[in-house]
Symmetry: C2
Subunit: 188 residues, 2 copies
DNA sequence: ATTTAAAAAGGACATTTGTCCGACGCCAAA
DNA sequence: TTTGGCGTCGGACAAATGTCCTTTTTAAAT
Protein backbone atom coordinates (compact mmCIF):
# COMPACT_ATOMS: atom_id res chain seq x y z
CA UNK A 1 0.00 0.00 0.00
CA UNK A 2 2.77 2.49 0.78
CA UNK A 3 5.65 1.79 -1.55
CA UNK A 4 9.18 2.83 -0.67
CA UNK A 5 12.64 2.35 -2.12
CA UNK A 6 15.46 3.12 0.28
CA UNK A 7 18.22 1.87 -2.03
CA UNK A 8 17.23 4.13 -4.87
CA UNK A 9 16.91 7.21 -2.67
CA UNK A 10 20.25 6.47 -1.09
CA UNK A 11 22.00 6.16 -4.44
CA UNK A 12 20.57 9.44 -5.65
CA UNK A 13 21.53 11.46 -2.59
CA UNK A 14 24.96 9.86 -2.10
CA UNK A 15 26.14 9.46 -5.69
CA UNK A 16 24.07 11.21 -8.34
CA UNK A 17 23.47 14.61 -6.77
CA UNK A 18 27.19 15.44 -6.69
CA UNK A 19 27.74 14.87 -10.38
CA UNK A 20 24.43 16.13 -11.61
CA UNK A 21 25.28 19.82 -12.12
CA UNK A 22 21.73 21.06 -12.13
CA UNK A 23 20.22 18.10 -14.00
CA UNK A 24 18.53 16.94 -10.82
CA UNK A 25 16.18 19.52 -9.41
CA UNK A 26 14.61 19.52 -5.96
CA UNK A 27 10.91 20.45 -5.76
CA UNK A 28 8.25 20.81 -3.12
CA UNK A 29 4.47 20.49 -3.44
CA UNK A 30 1.65 21.43 -1.09
CA UNK A 31 -0.92 18.81 -0.06
CA UNK A 32 -3.46 18.03 -2.79
CA UNK A 33 -1.30 19.40 -5.56
CA UNK A 34 -1.37 17.35 -8.73
CA UNK A 35 2.26 16.64 -9.56
CA UNK A 36 1.54 14.65 -12.69
CA UNK A 37 -1.75 14.59 -14.57
CA UNK A 38 -3.31 11.72 -16.48
CA UNK A 39 -2.71 11.50 -20.24
CA UNK A 40 0.00 14.15 -20.24
CA UNK A 41 3.38 14.16 -21.89
CA UNK A 42 5.93 13.40 -19.18
CA UNK A 43 9.17 15.38 -19.35
CA UNK A 44 10.61 14.41 -15.97
CA UNK A 45 11.03 11.40 -13.77
CA UNK A 46 10.41 11.95 -10.05
CA UNK A 47 11.80 10.35 -6.93
CA UNK A 48 10.22 11.07 -3.57
CA UNK A 49 12.49 12.63 -0.96
CA UNK A 50 9.84 12.91 1.75
CA UNK A 51 6.08 12.93 2.14
CA UNK A 52 3.29 10.81 0.72
CA UNK A 53 1.63 10.82 -2.69
CA UNK A 54 -1.27 8.89 -4.14
CA UNK A 55 -1.13 7.38 -7.58
CA UNK A 56 -4.57 7.02 -9.08
CA UNK A 57 -6.42 6.65 -12.31
CA UNK A 58 -9.78 8.16 -13.21
CA UNK A 59 -11.97 5.88 -15.28
CA UNK A 60 -14.32 6.94 -18.07
CA UNK A 61 -17.24 6.52 -15.69
CA UNK A 62 -15.67 8.93 -13.19
CA UNK A 63 -14.56 6.32 -10.67
CA UNK A 64 -11.16 6.88 -9.12
CA UNK A 65 -8.99 3.85 -8.57
CA UNK A 66 -5.90 4.23 -6.42
CA UNK A 67 -2.99 2.13 -7.63
CA UNK A 68 -0.66 2.81 -4.74
CA UNK A 69 0.54 5.28 -2.21
CA UNK A 70 4.13 6.35 -2.77
CA UNK A 71 6.56 7.09 0.06
CA UNK A 72 10.27 7.78 0.37
CA UNK A 73 12.42 6.69 -2.53
CA UNK A 74 9.53 5.67 -4.75
CA UNK A 75 9.93 6.63 -8.37
CA UNK A 76 7.24 7.74 -10.81
CA UNK A 77 7.17 8.92 -14.40
CA UNK A 78 9.73 6.26 -15.26
CA UNK A 79 7.31 4.01 -17.15
CA UNK A 80 6.36 6.87 -19.45
CA UNK A 81 10.02 7.76 -19.96
CA UNK A 82 10.95 4.19 -20.84
CA UNK A 83 7.99 3.51 -23.09
CA UNK A 84 7.61 7.01 -24.47
CA UNK A 85 3.91 7.03 -23.79
CA UNK A 86 1.54 9.50 -22.17
CA UNK A 87 1.00 9.18 -18.44
CA UNK A 88 -1.79 6.82 -17.45
CA UNK A 89 -1.87 7.69 -13.76
CA UNK A 90 -2.31 10.87 -11.84
CA UNK A 91 0.04 11.62 -8.96
CA UNK A 92 -1.21 13.85 -6.19
CA UNK A 93 0.50 15.00 -2.99
CA UNK A 94 -1.21 13.75 0.16
CA UNK A 95 1.19 15.50 2.56
CA UNK A 96 3.72 18.12 1.83
CA UNK A 97 5.79 16.38 -0.79
CA UNK A 98 9.46 16.81 -1.61
CA UNK A 99 10.82 15.21 -4.77
CA UNK A 100 13.89 15.01 -6.93
CA UNK A 101 13.07 15.80 -10.51
CA UNK A 102 15.18 14.33 -13.29
CA UNK A 103 14.81 15.35 -16.92
CA UNK A 104 13.60 12.43 -19.01
CA UNK A 105 16.54 12.75 -21.39
CA UNK A 106 19.04 12.65 -18.54
CA UNK A 107 17.17 9.74 -16.98
CA UNK A 108 17.52 7.74 -20.19
CA UNK A 109 21.16 8.71 -20.48
CA UNK A 110 21.73 7.45 -16.94
CA UNK A 111 20.04 4.16 -17.78
CA UNK A 112 22.53 3.63 -20.58
CA UNK A 113 25.70 4.82 -18.88
CA UNK A 114 25.31 4.11 -15.17
CA UNK A 115 25.20 0.37 -14.53
CA UNK A 116 24.30 0.74 -10.88
CA UNK A 117 21.45 3.07 -11.66
CA UNK A 118 20.24 0.76 -14.41
CA UNK A 119 20.22 -2.15 -12.00
CA UNK A 120 18.36 -0.16 -9.36
CA UNK A 121 15.65 0.74 -11.87
CA UNK A 122 15.36 -2.84 -13.09
CA UNK A 123 14.91 -4.00 -9.52
CA UNK A 124 12.42 -1.25 -8.82
CA UNK A 125 10.29 -2.27 -11.80
CA UNK A 126 10.50 -5.97 -11.02
CA UNK A 127 9.54 -5.25 -7.46
CA UNK A 128 6.55 -3.12 -8.41
CA UNK A 129 5.34 -5.88 -10.71
CA UNK A 130 5.71 -8.52 -8.06
CA UNK A 131 3.95 -6.42 -5.49
CA UNK A 132 0.99 -5.40 -7.61
CA UNK A 133 0.47 -8.92 -8.89
CA UNK A 134 0.35 -10.32 -5.37
CA UNK A 135 -1.83 -7.49 -4.14
CA UNK A 136 -4.51 -7.87 -6.82
CA UNK A 137 -4.53 -11.63 -6.58
CA UNK A 138 -5.14 -11.37 -2.85
CA UNK A 139 -7.79 -8.71 -3.17
CA UNK A 140 -9.71 -10.57 -5.84
CA UNK A 141 -9.60 -13.88 -4.01
CA UNK A 142 -10.54 -12.78 -0.51
CA UNK A 143 -13.53 -11.20 1.14
CA UNK A 144 -13.62 -7.51 1.75
CA UNK A 145 -13.32 -8.16 5.46
CA UNK A 146 -10.10 -10.11 4.95
CA UNK A 147 -8.68 -7.36 2.75
CA UNK A 148 -9.41 -4.62 5.24
CA UNK A 149 -8.08 -6.64 8.17
CA UNK A 150 -4.88 -7.32 6.25
CA UNK A 151 -4.39 -3.64 5.48
CA UNK A 152 -4.94 -2.67 9.10
CA UNK A 153 -2.42 -5.23 10.29
CA UNK A 154 0.22 -3.94 7.90
CA UNK A 155 -0.58 -0.29 8.57
CA UNK A 156 -1.85 0.08 12.14
CA UNK A 157 -2.55 3.80 11.79
CA UNK A 158 -4.06 3.54 8.35
CA UNK A 159 -7.40 4.98 9.45
CA UNK A 160 -5.76 8.03 11.00
CA UNK A 161 -3.50 8.84 8.09
CA UNK A 162 -5.60 8.16 5.02
CA UNK A 163 -9.13 9.34 4.25
CA UNK A 164 -11.85 6.70 4.10
CA UNK A 165 -12.65 7.67 0.54
CA UNK A 166 -9.04 7.00 -0.46
CA UNK A 167 -8.95 3.64 1.30
CA UNK A 168 -12.17 2.70 -0.48
CA UNK A 169 -10.76 3.81 -3.84
CA UNK A 170 -7.68 1.73 -3.16
CA UNK A 171 -9.80 -1.34 -2.49
CA UNK A 172 -12.09 -0.68 -5.43
CA UNK A 173 -15.21 -0.42 -3.27
CA UNK A 174 -17.38 2.43 -2.09
CA UNK A 175 -17.26 4.17 1.27
CA UNK A 176 -20.52 2.70 2.52
CA UNK A 177 -19.14 -0.81 2.18
CA UNK A 178 -15.94 0.19 3.92
CA UNK A 179 -17.83 1.58 6.91
CA UNK A 180 -19.91 -1.53 7.14
CA UNK A 181 -16.86 -3.76 7.22
CA UNK A 182 -15.03 -1.56 9.69
CA UNK A 183 -17.97 -1.84 12.03
CA UNK A 184 -18.14 -5.63 11.89
CA UNK A 185 -14.38 -5.81 12.45
CA UNK A 186 -14.65 -3.52 15.48
CA UNK A 187 -17.33 -5.79 16.95
CA UNK A 188 -15.08 -8.82 16.43
CA UNK B 1 -5.29 -10.73 -21.49
CA UNK B 2 -2.90 -12.38 -23.93
CA UNK B 3 0.45 -10.69 -23.62
CA UNK B 4 2.95 -10.78 -26.45
CA UNK B 5 6.31 -9.23 -27.23
CA UNK B 6 7.30 -9.40 -30.88
CA UNK B 7 10.41 -7.22 -30.47
CA UNK B 8 11.91 -9.41 -27.79
CA UNK B 9 11.25 -12.63 -29.68
CA UNK B 10 12.72 -11.13 -32.82
CA UNK B 11 15.89 -10.05 -31.07
CA UNK B 12 16.40 -13.47 -29.58
CA UNK B 13 15.93 -15.41 -32.78
CA UNK B 14 17.84 -12.97 -35.01
CA UNK B 15 20.71 -11.94 -32.72
CA UNK B 16 21.12 -13.95 -29.56
CA UNK B 17 20.71 -17.49 -30.80
CA UNK B 18 23.77 -17.27 -33.09
CA UNK B 19 26.16 -16.23 -30.33
CA UNK B 20 24.67 -18.26 -27.55
CA UNK B 21 26.66 -21.50 -27.95
CA UNK B 22 24.26 -23.65 -26.02
CA UNK B 23 23.35 -21.12 -23.36
CA UNK B 24 19.90 -20.76 -24.88
CA UNK B 25 18.00 -24.00 -24.92
CA UNK B 26 14.80 -24.75 -26.80
CA UNK B 27 12.09 -26.68 -24.94
CA UNK B 28 8.62 -28.01 -25.58
CA UNK B 29 5.81 -28.74 -23.13
CA UNK B 30 2.55 -30.65 -23.51
CA UNK B 31 -0.75 -28.95 -22.62
CA UNK B 32 -1.35 -28.68 -18.86
CA UNK B 33 2.29 -29.13 -17.99
CA UNK B 34 3.49 -26.90 -15.19
CA UNK B 35 6.57 -25.13 -16.52
CA UNK B 36 7.27 -23.15 -13.39
CA UNK B 37 5.79 -23.84 -9.96
CA UNK B 38 4.89 -21.36 -7.26
CA UNK B 39 7.45 -20.65 -4.52
CA UNK B 40 10.26 -22.41 -6.32
CA UNK B 41 13.82 -21.34 -6.91
CA UNK B 42 14.05 -20.16 -10.50
CA UNK B 43 17.16 -21.13 -12.42
CA UNK B 44 16.06 -20.09 -15.89
CA UNK B 45 14.28 -17.30 -17.66
CA UNK B 46 11.81 -18.32 -20.38
CA UNK B 47 10.64 -16.67 -23.57
CA UNK B 48 7.71 -18.10 -25.46
CA UNK B 49 8.37 -19.19 -29.01
CA UNK B 50 4.87 -20.45 -29.73
CA UNK B 51 1.74 -21.55 -27.91
CA UNK B 52 -0.18 -20.18 -24.95
CA UNK B 53 0.51 -20.34 -21.22
CA UNK B 54 -1.42 -19.17 -18.20
CA UNK B 55 0.25 -17.37 -15.35
CA UNK B 56 -1.64 -17.87 -12.11
CA UNK B 57 -1.31 -17.75 -8.40
CA UNK B 58 -2.97 -20.04 -5.89
CA UNK B 59 -4.11 -18.29 -2.73
CA UNK B 60 -4.04 -19.71 0.78
CA UNK B 61 -7.79 -20.32 0.54
CA UNK B 62 -7.31 -22.43 -2.59
CA UNK B 63 -8.64 -19.85 -5.05
CA UNK B 64 -6.73 -19.58 -8.31
CA UNK B 65 -6.22 -16.12 -9.71
CA UNK B 66 -4.96 -15.80 -13.27
CA UNK B 67 -2.60 -12.88 -13.75
CA UNK B 68 -2.27 -13.14 -17.51
CA UNK B 69 -2.12 -15.40 -20.48
CA UNK B 70 1.24 -15.37 -22.20
CA UNK B 71 1.69 -15.64 -25.94
CA UNK B 72 4.56 -15.29 -28.40
CA UNK B 73 7.58 -13.40 -27.16
CA UNK B 74 6.34 -13.03 -23.62
CA UNK B 75 9.01 -13.51 -20.98
CA UNK B 76 8.65 -15.11 -17.55
CA UNK B 77 10.99 -15.94 -14.70
CA UNK B 78 12.71 -12.60 -15.25
CA UNK B 79 11.31 -10.97 -12.09
CA UNK B 80 12.69 -13.74 -9.95
CA UNK B 81 16.06 -13.54 -11.70
CA UNK B 82 16.28 -9.79 -11.20
CA UNK B 83 15.11 -9.75 -7.61
CA UNK B 84 16.58 -13.08 -6.59
CA UNK B 85 13.34 -14.20 -5.04
CA UNK B 86 11.29 -17.37 -5.21
CA UNK B 87 8.62 -17.54 -7.90
CA UNK B 88 5.26 -16.16 -6.89
CA UNK B 89 3.34 -17.36 -9.91
CA UNK B 90 2.76 -20.68 -11.52
CA UNK B 91 3.12 -21.00 -15.29
CA UNK B 92 1.18 -23.72 -17.03
CA UNK B 93 0.97 -24.63 -20.71
CA UNK B 94 -2.50 -24.21 -22.19
CA UNK B 95 -1.55 -25.42 -25.66
CA UNK B 96 1.55 -27.15 -26.78
CA UNK B 97 4.16 -24.67 -25.67
CA UNK B 98 7.59 -23.99 -27.15
CA UNK B 99 10.00 -21.81 -25.21
CA UNK B 100 13.56 -20.56 -25.20
CA UNK B 101 15.19 -21.22 -21.88
CA UNK B 102 18.02 -18.99 -20.71
CA UNK B 103 20.11 -19.72 -17.63
CA UNK B 104 19.57 -17.08 -14.96
CA UNK B 105 23.29 -16.35 -14.75
CA UNK B 106 23.53 -15.82 -18.50
CA UNK B 107 20.38 -13.67 -18.44
CA UNK B 108 21.94 -11.39 -15.85
CA UNK B 109 25.17 -11.26 -17.78
CA UNK B 110 23.23 -10.23 -20.88
CA UNK B 111 21.50 -7.48 -18.93
CA UNK B 112 24.87 -6.03 -18.03
CA UNK B 113 26.68 -6.43 -21.33
CA UNK B 114 24.04 -6.20 -24.07
CA UNK B 115 22.55 -2.71 -24.18
CA UNK B 116 19.85 -3.64 -26.68
CA UNK B 117 18.76 -6.60 -24.60
CA UNK B 118 18.77 -4.49 -21.47
CA UNK B 119 16.56 -1.92 -23.14
CA UNK B 120 14.16 -4.58 -24.40
CA UNK B 121 13.77 -5.97 -20.89
CA UNK B 122 13.25 -2.52 -19.38
CA UNK B 123 10.53 -1.87 -21.93
CA UNK B 124 8.97 -5.26 -21.33
CA UNK B 125 8.78 -4.61 -17.58
CA UNK B 126 7.46 -1.07 -17.99
CA UNK B 127 4.87 -2.35 -20.40
CA UNK B 128 3.72 -5.15 -18.11
CA UNK B 129 3.33 -2.64 -15.29
CA UNK B 130 1.37 -0.24 -17.43
CA UNK B 131 -0.88 -2.96 -18.71
CA UNK B 132 -1.67 -4.60 -15.37
CA UNK B 133 -2.31 -1.25 -13.72
CA UNK B 134 -4.81 -0.26 -16.39
CA UNK B 135 -6.40 -3.66 -16.38
CA UNK B 136 -7.05 -3.83 -12.66
CA UNK B 137 -8.25 -0.26 -12.50
CA UNK B 138 -10.76 -1.01 -15.22
CA UNK B 139 -11.90 -4.27 -13.69
CA UNK B 140 -12.38 -2.80 -10.23
CA UNK B 141 -14.26 0.23 -11.51
CA UNK B 142 -16.67 -1.40 -13.92
CA UNK B 143 -19.47 -3.89 -13.73
CA UNK B 144 -18.86 -7.51 -14.49
CA UNK B 145 -20.91 -7.14 -17.65
CA UNK B 146 -18.69 -4.31 -18.90
CA UNK B 147 -15.58 -6.34 -18.14
CA UNK B 148 -16.79 -9.41 -20.00
CA UNK B 149 -17.98 -7.36 -22.98
CA UNK B 150 -14.64 -5.62 -23.16
CA UNK B 151 -12.79 -8.94 -23.14
CA UNK B 152 -14.99 -10.37 -25.87
CA UNK B 153 -14.45 -7.32 -28.06
CA UNK B 154 -10.69 -7.57 -27.72
CA UNK B 155 -10.66 -11.36 -28.13
CA UNK B 156 -13.55 -12.40 -30.36
CA UNK B 157 -12.88 -16.11 -30.00
CA UNK B 158 -12.15 -15.96 -26.32
CA UNK B 159 -14.94 -18.37 -25.45
CA UNK B 160 -13.74 -20.96 -27.91
CA UNK B 161 -10.08 -20.83 -26.90
CA UNK B 162 -10.16 -20.51 -23.14
CA UNK B 163 -12.11 -22.56 -20.61
CA UNK B 164 -14.87 -20.78 -18.69
CA UNK B 165 -13.18 -21.62 -15.41
CA UNK B 166 -10.03 -19.87 -16.59
CA UNK B 167 -11.89 -16.80 -17.77
CA UNK B 168 -13.63 -16.65 -14.40
CA UNK B 169 -10.32 -17.01 -12.56
CA UNK B 170 -8.91 -14.23 -14.68
CA UNK B 171 -11.78 -11.94 -13.74
CA UNK B 172 -11.69 -12.97 -10.09
CA UNK B 173 -15.27 -14.28 -10.12
CA UNK B 174 -16.83 -17.72 -10.10
CA UNK B 175 -18.14 -19.63 -13.05
CA UNK B 176 -21.78 -19.28 -12.11
CA UNK B 177 -21.52 -15.51 -12.30
CA UNK B 178 -19.76 -15.71 -15.62
CA UNK B 179 -22.52 -17.88 -17.10
CA UNK B 180 -25.14 -15.47 -15.86
CA UNK B 181 -23.44 -12.49 -17.46
CA UNK B 182 -22.80 -14.32 -20.72
CA UNK B 183 -26.48 -15.09 -20.95
CA UNK B 184 -27.60 -11.51 -20.42
CA UNK B 185 -25.04 -10.34 -22.99
CA UNK B 186 -26.31 -12.89 -25.50
CA UNK B 187 -29.88 -11.62 -25.01
CA UNK B 188 -28.69 -8.03 -25.56
C1' DA C 1 -22.21 -48.17 -29.71
C1' DT C 2 -21.85 -47.59 -24.86
C1' DT C 3 -19.86 -45.79 -20.82
C1' DT C 4 -17.68 -42.31 -18.13
C1' DA C 5 -15.81 -38.04 -16.69
C1' DA C 6 -15.40 -33.33 -17.23
C1' DA C 7 -17.15 -29.02 -18.73
C1' DA C 8 -21.18 -26.11 -19.54
C1' DA C 9 -25.45 -24.26 -18.15
C1' DG C 10 -28.75 -22.68 -15.09
C1' DG C 11 -32.51 -22.82 -10.87
C1' DA C 12 -33.12 -21.40 -6.09
C1' DC C 13 -31.71 -19.16 -2.34
C1' DA C 14 -28.16 -16.69 0.77
C1' DT C 15 -24.89 -13.23 1.21
C1' DT C 16 -22.44 -9.30 -0.12
C1' DT C 17 -22.06 -4.94 -2.05
C1' DG C 18 -24.04 -0.70 -4.10
C1' DT C 19 -27.28 3.30 -4.19
C1' DC C 20 -29.62 6.79 -2.08
C1' DC C 21 -30.45 9.15 1.63
C1' DG C 22 -30.34 11.75 6.19
C1' DA C 23 -27.87 12.80 10.69
C1' DC C 24 -23.97 14.36 13.07
C1' DG C 25 -19.54 16.63 14.10
C1' DC C 26 -15.63 19.37 12.73
C1' DC C 27 -13.50 23.41 10.98
C1' DA C 28 -12.59 27.35 8.38
C1' DA C 29 -14.56 31.63 6.12
C1' DA C 30 -17.75 35.23 6.72
C1' DT D 1 -21.13 33.11 16.47
C1' DT D 2 -22.98 31.66 12.58
C1' DT D 3 -22.88 29.49 8.16
C1' DG D 4 -21.68 26.22 4.74
C1' DG D 5 -18.94 22.55 3.13
C1' DC D 6 -16.81 18.26 3.83
C1' DG D 7 -15.89 13.97 5.93
C1' DT D 8 -17.87 10.32 8.82
C1' DC D 9 -21.39 7.06 9.91
C1' DG D 10 -25.28 4.25 9.21
C1' DG D 11 -30.53 2.87 7.84
C1' DA D 12 -33.33 0.88 4.17
C1' DC D 13 -33.75 -1.05 0.12
C1' DA D 14 -32.01 -2.62 -4.66
C1' DA D 15 -28.83 -5.02 -7.33
C1' DA D 16 -24.99 -7.99 -8.00
C1' DT D 17 -22.51 -12.00 -6.87
C1' DG D 18 -21.68 -16.43 -4.42
C1' DT D 19 -23.06 -21.14 -2.90
C1' DC D 20 -25.11 -25.33 -3.65
C1' DC D 21 -27.08 -28.34 -6.46
C1' DT D 22 -29.11 -30.67 -10.67
C1' DT D 23 -29.37 -31.27 -15.57
C1' DT D 24 -27.46 -31.18 -20.12
C1' DT D 25 -23.75 -31.37 -23.37
C1' DT D 26 -19.38 -32.70 -24.97
C1' DA D 27 -15.61 -35.44 -25.75
C1' DA D 28 -12.74 -39.05 -24.85
C1' DA D 29 -12.08 -44.08 -23.54
C1' DT D 30 -13.53 -48.69 -23.78
Amino acid sequence: MIRKNANLLHYITKHLLQHSEGTIESCQYAPRTVVLGQKKRVSSVFIIKSGLAKCYLTEDNGVEFIQEFFGEGEIFGELEAINEKLSFCCIEAVNTLEVYKIETTYFKELLETDTTFNSLILKALANKLNYTAVRHAYNQSHTLEDNVKRLMEHYPNLIQEIAKQDIANYLGINVRSLHRVLKTIAQD
